[in-house]
C-alpha cells in the first residue's frame, strides 16, 4: 500500500486499432477494446465487460465517489475519504489479499474525477447511455470501436435540492414540457398535483409536490438525488431498473424505503465479500443497510426507492471509534 498521494495522471492518444484513448492514474492503467475494459496495476491485471464497467464508472463520476466504497466487481473499486479517494484492486478480495496481489493507491478526489470524466466521455459511443437500464429503447450499446460521443447523457447534473424540490428557486419539478416524460414502466403513475392554498405572504413556505410523479419522470437509473433536506438528513429517492452498477459498501448506516414495486438486495461482508443476507423489499418495506456490509440491488421492473442518508461528515470517524453504531438500531 502506498500512502502518499499519487500525482501521475496521463491521457494517451487514441489507439489506431480501437479508436479509444487510454488512461493512467498513479500506477493504474485503463484501456478498452470493443468488448472489454482492462485495468493493469503493478501486481496484476483485471478484465471487465465494457457495459458493467461504464455503468459503474458513470455513477462514480456522477456521485463524486458517493459515500464509502464503490466496488465495480469483487476486485476493483474506489473508497471515498471526502477529498481523498482510494483506488484499489483486490484489497477487499480475500484470495487477492492472502496472496499479496492486492493494490491500493490514494488520489486527490477532484483530480481523479477529472481523469474519469474524460474517460467516460471518450469511452461512451454515440447513442449509448450508461445511466439507462439496458432494456430501455434509448439505452444504446456500449460495444464496438470508437464511434462518436453522447455528451448530453454523460454530463447530466445530479439533482440536489437545497430544501425541497418544487420550492421557488430550488430544484424544479419534472414535466413533459421541460423534457421529462414519464418512463414507459411508470405510465400508470398519477400526475395529479397536491392542492396548495397559501395565504398571502406564505407562498414560499406553503409547498408540496408529487414525488411519485417526479420519480416516474426520472431519465436515469440508480442515481439517488437529494429531494428534501432536514439539516444533515437527506431524502435521496431514485428510480431503479436492472442492477445497481456497483456493490456499495457504505461507511455509515444507509436506509431504504421501497416506495413502489420490488428490489432484491444481495448483502455481503464489506471486507471479504462473503454472502450475509438476501433481502427482498416490496412496496412499503423499510430496511437499514449496516455500516459493515456491501449491497447490490436487482430491480426487475423500474421501481421507486427512497435512499435515506445522514450526510454528517463526522460519521465515518464515529463508526471507527465506536461512537456511532454499525447497526442503526438495537432491539
Amino acid at each position: 500500500m502506498t500512502e502518499a498521494l499519487q500525482t501521475h495522471y496521463k491521457i494517451n492518444p487514441a489507439s489506431n486499432e480501437t479508436g479509444y484513448k487510454s488512461y493512467e492514474a498513479g500506477s493504474f492503467k485503463f484501456t478498452r477494446d470493443e468488448y472489454f475494459v482492462s485495468i493493469v496495476w503493478p501486481k496484476g491485471a483485471h478484465t471487465m465487460a465494457a457495459d458493467g464497467f461504464m455503468r459503474a464508472m458513470m455513477r462514480t463520476v456522477a456521485w463524486g465517489f458517493f459515500y464509502g466504497t464503490l466496488s465495480y466487481d469483487p476486485v476493483f473499486g474506489t473508497t471515498n475519504h471526502y477529498g481523498i479517494v482510494d483506488m484499489f484492486a483486490g484489497t477487499y478480495h480475500p484470495v487477492f489479499k492472502e496472496n499479496g496481489r492486492d493494490h491500493l493507491e490514494k488520489f486527490k478526489a477532484e483530480d481523479l474525477l477529472e481523469l474519469f470524466r474524460d474517460l467516460v466521455d471518450d469511452w461512451t459511443n454515440e447513442g449509448y447511455d450508461p445511466f439507462a437500464a439496458p432494456g430501455e429503447d434509448d439505452a444504446g450499446q456500449p460495444w464496438g470501436r470508437k464511434n462518436g460521443n453522447n455528451a448530453d447523457a454523460v454530463t447530466r447534473i445530479r439533482v440536489t435540492a437545497n430544501r425541497m424540490v418544487g420550492l421557488p428557486g430550488d430544484a424544479e419539478i419534472r414535466t413533459d414540457a421541460n423534457g421529462f416524460p414519464q418512463n414507459r414502466m411508470f405510465a400508470d403513475v398519477s400526475s395529479d398535483q397536491p392542492l396548495v392554498e397559501a395565504e398571502p405572504g406564505f407562498e414560499d413556505e406553503v409547498a408540496a409536490f408529487n414525488l411519485y410523479d417526479y420519480l416516474s419522470r426520472s431519465d436515469v437509473t440508480w442515481n439517488p438525488s437529494v429531494c428534501s433536506v432536514v439539516k444533515e438528513s437527506l431524502f435521496c429517492p431514485t428510480s431503479e431498473e436492472f442492477i445497481l452498477p456497483v456493490e456499495h459498501g457504505n461507511d455509515r448506516c444507509e436506509w431504504f424505503v421501497q416506495l413502489s414495486d420490488e428490489i432484491t438486495w444481495e448483502v455481503k461482508d464489506k471486507n471479504t465479500g462473503k454472502p450475509r443476507s438476501r433481502i427482498v423489499m416490496r412496496a412499503g418495506d423499510v430496511a437499514c443497510m449496516p455500516a459493515d456490509i456491501r449491497h447490490q440491488g436487482y430491480s426487475p421492473k423500474r421501481s421507486m426507492l427512497l435512499v435515506w442518508e445522514n450526510a454528517s461528515p463526522r460519521i465515518p470517524d464515529m463508526i471507527q471509534s465506536g461512537e456511532a453504531p454499525v447497526v442503526a438500531v438495537q432491539f
Binding site: S190, V206, W255, R282, N310
Partner: protein, 172 residues
C-alpha cells in the same frame, strides 16, 4: 404488449418481503413495513421506522384530526396512502411555543394563536414541507398513511421489537 402495473401498496394492501439471513442476524436490517406499522398504530402515533443517530423517519396512521404540532426545524410529510389535509399556522410567539434550538415535533396543548399560513391536501405520492417555526395539524376523513422526515423528538414513539422482523424469512 401488456401495460406495466406499478405497485405502491396501501393500508389494506401490502405484501412485505423480508430478510433471508444466510450468515447473519436478520435484526441487523431493522426491517419493517410502513403499511403494517400504520395498520397496527393508533391515530397519529409517530412511530419511528428509521433512525440514523438523531434523525428519524416516522410513520403516522392519519385518521380524524391530529393534535397541533410545532417544530423548530423543517420537517417533511409524504402521503403513502389515502388523502391527508394539512393546516399550517405561523404562531405569534413561535419561540415561546418551541425552543428554537430543540429537535423533533412537539405536541401542543391547544390551538396556537397566530396567522393562518395555508392549507395543503396530499394524496398518494405527494410530499409537503412542514416549515420550521410553523405549527401544523393533520386531518384525514378515512385512514391514511404519512411518512415523515424529521429529527427524533418527544412525540416520536420507538417500538422496534414489535414492528421489525427478528427471524430469518426467505421471501417467496
Amino acid at each position: 404488449m401488456s401495460e406495466y402495473k406499478t405497485v405502491f401498496g396501501g393500508l389494506n394492501d401490502f405484501t412485505p418481503g423480508g430478510v433471508d439471513a444466510i450468515d447473519d442476524n436478520p435484526k441487523n436490517y431493522v426491517f419493517s413495513n410502513v403499511f403494517d406499522v400504520a395498520s397496527r398504530s393508533a391515530p397519529y402515533e409517530r412511530v419511528a421506522v428509521g433512525k440514523n443517530l438523531e434523525y428519524v423517519i416516522e410513520v403516522l396512521r392519519a385518521e380524524g384530526q391530529s393534535p397541533w404540532y410545532a417544530c423548530a426545524h423543517d420537517e417533511f410529510a409524504l402521503c403513502m396512502d389515502g388523502e391527508v389535509e394539512i393546516h399550517l399556522v405561523k404562531p405569534d410567539d413561535a419561540d415561546v411555543l418551541v425552543d428554537p434550538d430543540s429537535e423533533g415535533a412537539v405536541v401542543l396543548d391547544e390551538v396556537p394563536d397566530g396567522r393562518k399560513m395555508g392549507r395543503i391536501v396530499l394524496r398518494r405520492g405527494h410530499q409537503a414541507l412542514l416549515p420550521g417555526g410553523a405549527a401544523y395539524r393533520f386531518e384525514a376523513g378515512a385512514p391514511a398513511v404519512i411518512l415523515t422526515q424529521t429529527i427524533q423528538g418527544p412525540a416520536t414513539v420507538e417500538r422496534w421489537a414489535e414492528i421489525c422482523q427478528s427471524e430469518s424469512r426467505p421471501a417467496a
